[in-house]
Amino acid sequence: MAARGAPPALIFACVCALAALALMTWQLFDPRVFPIIVAMSAGQVLGTASFLTYLYVVANDFRRQLRQGKEPGKINEG
């Protein structure tokens, strides 16, 4: 999986994180009720989902490498 390019889950994580960042920065330019509530709710949820997805992908990759009996982190570098 890893050596063949970007896993779809990481693409999803990046898109989620970009959306979260957009919502979180909107409140900085327009500090009214709706942008602030959206930033602190939807922005946080999307950002958390993005980071958890990243952790899941990395943990999955690590576990797969361990199962293959290779040293994690070095397998994909060659």
Partner: protein, 210 residues
């Protein structure tokens, strides 16, 4: 353009994070150790920094008069506080540096250890009421129904600064005569017979008064 340090930190983290994510989406490199480290920065550390600084900045923004005035029902209150010629209690306090642009929050916030949390939770109730009960209600109609939820708390907020223990304050005969009632919130400092309503154009239907 936001200029406060927190906003700049939040923006900086967000921009750097977005650059890393966009680079990943465009290049789509294999998931090697370096990619994981870059993504840890772009999806974890920098967005967490942006969220933390942005949230603190957001909480600070909710204390500003402009934020309170962004709901249509508070337009008159905001205009009155901004009016340097107004003699209302709210406006006079807004001209005091201790209150300044945060005068709504300073007078209406609950105090105590959990005051900020209680106030923010109460603010969510205001948002809910604004979106549901008062969404299509005109300012003139709203004036007739909006009132303080806990008017008895207001004297406590006044007494954060005006302690009622100062000899000069106690020299005033009217203060002395209602001292116990003021402390027990049976008489409001901001009632018609005393210092007048804080927002005289917005008469509460159930004020605390003698």
């Amino acid at each position: 353009m936001p200029t406060s340090p927190l906003a700049v930190i939040a923006l900086g983290c967000a921009v750097l994070s977005a650059i890393i994510q966009l680079a990943y989406l465009i290049v789509r490199p294999p998931l090697v150790r370096a990619t994981k480290v870059w993504l840890l920065l772009g999806l974890g550390i920098l967005p967490i920094g942006a969220a933390f600084a942005g949230n603190v900045q957001g909480f600070e923004a909710t204390k500003e008069r402009a934020f309170c005035g962004s709901c249509h029902l508070m337009t008159l209150h905001e205009q009155d506080s901004d009016d340097a010629a107004s003699l209302s209690l709210a406006s006079r306090h807004a001209r005091n540096a201790m209150f300044g642009s945060e005068n709504c929050y300073t007078c209406h916030a609950d105090y105590g250890m959990f005051g900020t949390i209680v106030t923010k939770a109460g603010g969510m109730r205001h948002v809910w009421m604004n979106l549901t009960a008062y969404r299509g209600v005109s300012l003139d109609d709203a004036k007739k129904t909006i009132s303080l939820r806990d008017p008895w708390k207001m004297n406590g907020n006044c007494m954060q600064c005006h302690s009622t223990r100062d000899p000069l304050w106690l020299k005033v005969a009217d203060h002395k005569s209602v001292l116990d009632d003021v402390r027990a919130a049976r008489v409001s400092c901001a009632s018609a017979g005393c210092h007048g309503l804080a927002h005289p154009f917005f008469v509460s239907p159930n004020p605390v008064s003698p």
